[in-house]
């Protein structure tokens, strides 16, 4: 770790990226692209969070379930109890985190494939609860007319979140916080411990690392942010249904993380961007879209085992992240 401070080129490139991110919606006014930017931002939040769990060597196939928990929780708090979005939003994240701990406690002690399948079963059960508990969750048709976040009073006027442009800034903020938290965590001593757990769990245990506690921590933080992403999606698209949070969506996040490159924070970001935008490029090809997607997937995994991030690192000779 570089203790002498961050190299100037890094400060410059990060600032440049941030500036671009902040002014983009003012330059690109086409709402379709703004929509894609919001979706990509949400995907980044979920994928970076998944990466945290992957960093401890656990494969979770339940990401979409946590998105759903956050989405439904926030929706119900706003529609049924009348809370403002600004309260419902963090509570939804906390709820997702809570469920994460509840399901993590009995399952995180399982290794590899077993944990993956347990999360898969959990994810499907969550979806079935959303589907079959009709009085609470609206059943198969889901919940319509979810309002946008309430306006915030601001210097005499107010900030509204009805338009895509304004919502983008909200997503951007949450995304940046997620990236920051994950980055700091992964580059801290706890992050080193995660790596130790991922590489040789028994050894890590013996050298005094509280393995279970750390795995739970990763799972908790991951679930919280994923839940927040769910809440954001609900109040952006105004409609959620159980089918939006199925096994296939969870798989999609895994694919994004792996294609991007597991282990770093940049990897999931690249993966999320690449795999949210790639299908859009091929949208006009109709039924060939999925074939192209699959071929791209297979090719990247075969030839870039460390994902796109690995390619980027090789190209820039390991400089920057």
């Amino acid at each position: 770790m570089n203790r002498k401070g961050i190299p100037p080129i890094r400060i410059f490139s990060i600032t440049a990226v941030l500036v671009v991110l902040f002014i983009i919606p003012l330059i690109i006014r086409d709402q379709y692209y703004q929509h894609l930017m919001i979706l990509t931002g949400l995907a980044i939040i979920a994928t970076v969070s998944l990466n945290l769990v992957l960093a401890t060597g656990q494969l979770s196939i339940a990401q979409a379930a946590f998105v759903g928990i956050g989405a439904y929780c926030s929706t119900l708090l706003v529609l049924k109890i009348g809370l403002t979005f600004w309260l419902a939003f963090p509570i939804a994240g906390a709820a997702a985190g809570g469920v994460g701990v509840l399901i993590g406690l009995p399952t995180l002690k399982m290794r590899g494939v077993y944990f993956a399948i347990a999360t898969f079963a959990f994810g499907e059960l969550v979806r079935m609860v959303f589907t079959n508990w009709v009085s609470l969750f609206g059943g198969v048709g889901g919940i319509l007319n979810i309002p946008a976040p309430n306006p915030i009073p601001f210097f005499g006027g107010a900030l509204y979140f009805q338009t895509k442009g304004s919502f983008y800034y909200l997503v951007l903020l949450v995304m940046l916080i997620t990236i920051l938290v994950n980055y700091r965590l992964l580059h801290s001593r706890i992050g080193m411990a995660f790596q130790a757990i991922e590489e040789a769990e028994a050894l890590a245990e013996q050298s005094g690392i509280p393995v279970m506690k750390y795995k739970l921590l990763a799972f908790l933080i991951s679930s919280i942010f994923t839940g927040l992403a769910g809440s954001l999606y609900a109040h952006y698209s105004h409609y959620i249904a159980p089918g939006f949070f199925s096994f296939w969506e969870s798989v999609h996040f895994i694919i994004m993380a792996v294609i991007g490159g597991v282990g770093t924070v940049g990897g999931p970001v690249i993966g999320a961007v690449f795999l949210t935008l790639l299908p859009e490029v091929f949208r006009a090809t109709k039924e060939y879209e999925m074939v192209i997607y699959a071929i791209a997937l297979i090719t990247v995994v075969l030839f870039l085992p460390k994902g796109l991030m690995g390619l980027l690192k090789r190209v820039t000779n390991g400089r920057g992240e």
């Binding site: 709402q31 929509h35 048709g141 698209s237 409609y239 249904a241 089918g243 859009e280 949208r283 039924e287």
Partner: protein
Amino acid sequence: MKDRSSSKAKGFVAIVLTSLLIFGLYALAAAETFKIGIIGPLSGPASVWGQQIVRGAEMASEEINAKGGFPVGNEKYTIKLIPYDDKYKGPEGLTAANKLVFDDKVKVILGSISSASILAFQVVTEPNKVLVLCNSFSHQVLDTKKPYTFRILMTSLEKAPLEVGWVAKNKPNIKNAVTWAPNDVSGWDVTKHYLKAFKDNNINVLLSEYYERGTRDFYPILTRIKAKNPDLLYSCGSPPGDVGLMVKQAREMGIKCMIMGHAGSVEDPEKFVGIAGKKNAEDYTYGTDFNFESKEPKAVQFIEKYVKKYSRPCYGYVDPCFYDATMAYAYAAHKAGSLDADKVQEMLKRIPEYEGVMGAFKFSGKEDYGTDQQRLTTCFIAQIKDGKQVILSQVR
């Protein structure tokens, strides 16, 4: 050297300018392009219907473009179709609609069959005054607050009373029934309508079963149903493949009562019989919106062209429905003299004289939805006899 290169340059410029001139003249003379978006499942199991939407639209746009486009005011518009896959999912439909409305700037969207998809993308189409002609089943799709969405296919709300009414009239010895449907939006909504229709016709519903889509083995459910000993087993909203299997397995299980299904449970009678087995499929009765053996000139013409173009028989009712919808839109825009969404949508509600392949293009539905945006089409009762479809009667 200099002379040659400068004359080469002059020659090049001349060619470019001439091409631009020709292109410009051509562009001026050609009709305006009118883009129509299509949102539907183009991959996955539901692509059966998504592809039908595309085919129906293609048939109509080809016919219209062959005449140089459809006239509105002083312009003629040729149709360009832009189909996007929504994979039968809400979020995908939302993205597809965003692209169609903001990037491709369409004024009309055909589809989707997925209720989740259309409920998701109406938040984009309604505020932006984009006309949507859909065939999704959910009740919430049509609403007084959604003046630009029209449903061009009847749902079970309209059809259940017709089908069950036929049962009550022609099979008076049927006193009770069991319904069977997939465990999703369509299945629940459709069953609701049949339950009401059964109640209105004094037929007691003993049991309503729902199964997860993807289930192929209905033996356990059928065991449960057999124990209730119903007079009638009714399929409410399942796709033809599932219904064929259900009929086969029910007969194998020794269930001997009448089995009937909603319009849409059979599309290709031969395939259906192939799945169910000839003996098992005998006497299976079902509603159907489109009579592919109709002698009506419009229908005959449509079917002929369809078979020629796609080398496949025309059994589905979704294709002709969207053909009708596209043609009717062009007709309404022409009559309204404008492409303005408000004017066209008003006109659509007032052209019952337009005869489509599936009957007069009439909208109604004020009682059920608060607004007249639901099309009423033809509807028949058919039966499988000796491995073939036989139309028993026309109920609308």
